[in-house]
């Protein structure tokens, strides 16, 4: 019960932080953390199938794609303002 409450609090905290932080890189890292916590929540809800998919696709692959996008944005910004 305490674990579940902590999990919910951590989920909400990481979601709010990911949406409000001005630093894109930080936002992506928080999004990945949110995905992993979400996978934990699915596992607690007895849905291991969704937990596996969330951890692999939601946190892993989407996180990698978003990090790549952030890197591209930084490169572009550096080229525009030398």
């Amino acid at each position: 019960m305490i674990f579940d409450l902590l999990l919910v609090a951590a989920l909400l905290w990481s979601a709010v932080q990911a949406l409000t932080t001005p630093d894109l890189f930080r936002a992506v890292v928080l999004f990945i953390i949110f995905g992993l916590l979400m996978a934990l929540a699915w596992a607690r809800l007895d849905a291991p199938d969704i937990a596996l998919a969330e951890a692999a696709i939601g946190a892993g692959l989407t996180g990698a794609l978003l990090l790549d996008a952030v890197a591209h944005l930084h490169k572009k910004r550096r080229e525009q303002s030398p």
């Binding site: 596996l52 990698a64 794609l65 790549d68």
Partner: protein, 222 residues
Amino acid sequence: MRTLLNVTVLFLASAFGLALGWLILDLPVAAVRLPEQVTAQLEMSGVVHPVTAVLLNFRGYDTLLEIAVLLLALLGILALPRHVSDHQHRPSSANPVLQTLTRVLAPLMLLVAGYVLWAGAHRPGGAFQAGAVLAGAGVLLHLAGLLPAWATPGRTLRAGLAVGLLVFIAVAVALMAQGTLLQYPLSWAGALILMIEASLTLSLGLILAGLYLVLTDSGVQK
């Protein structure tokens, strides 16, 4: 003025959220008990795990459309104008520790993908999860500098991307003779589902890895 707007939006959003939550709690109990129906029909499906039975048998049509949508998404990305850069599409910062670790991990990830695929018949697992692990291995290999980006996919790669959808459609067409779409004969159901899942795993792994490997490095034209 701006603060007022923010407060209004915040208030409306929380009111909407509360209303949604209240409505969900207020919904009547569903008239059709789906979990019980699935359990009752489980023996007809050819697999023991209810999630796989629903995904590949009872609602196989949905899964067929899902893989089609993913393939279309990748085709859309491939259709974007890209420029091929001259530096081999390899990240320059590949370090030997990362490369060695990746060489050890990649075969293990292949093994895990195979296990997850096989386990899907009787416990949590299945094609989507196995495909995601395969894709993860692909992305890791690329990040370690061992696998070049897929600027221009060759014939084998294109075949691998399409094989999941093609096998699924072939099975569906072959079973059309009985009159209903994707209703497997009882004695073959397990084998057919395993065959579809194996090809789905390969295609999903390549498509999901492709979403990363096609877009990355060589990059979309600016």
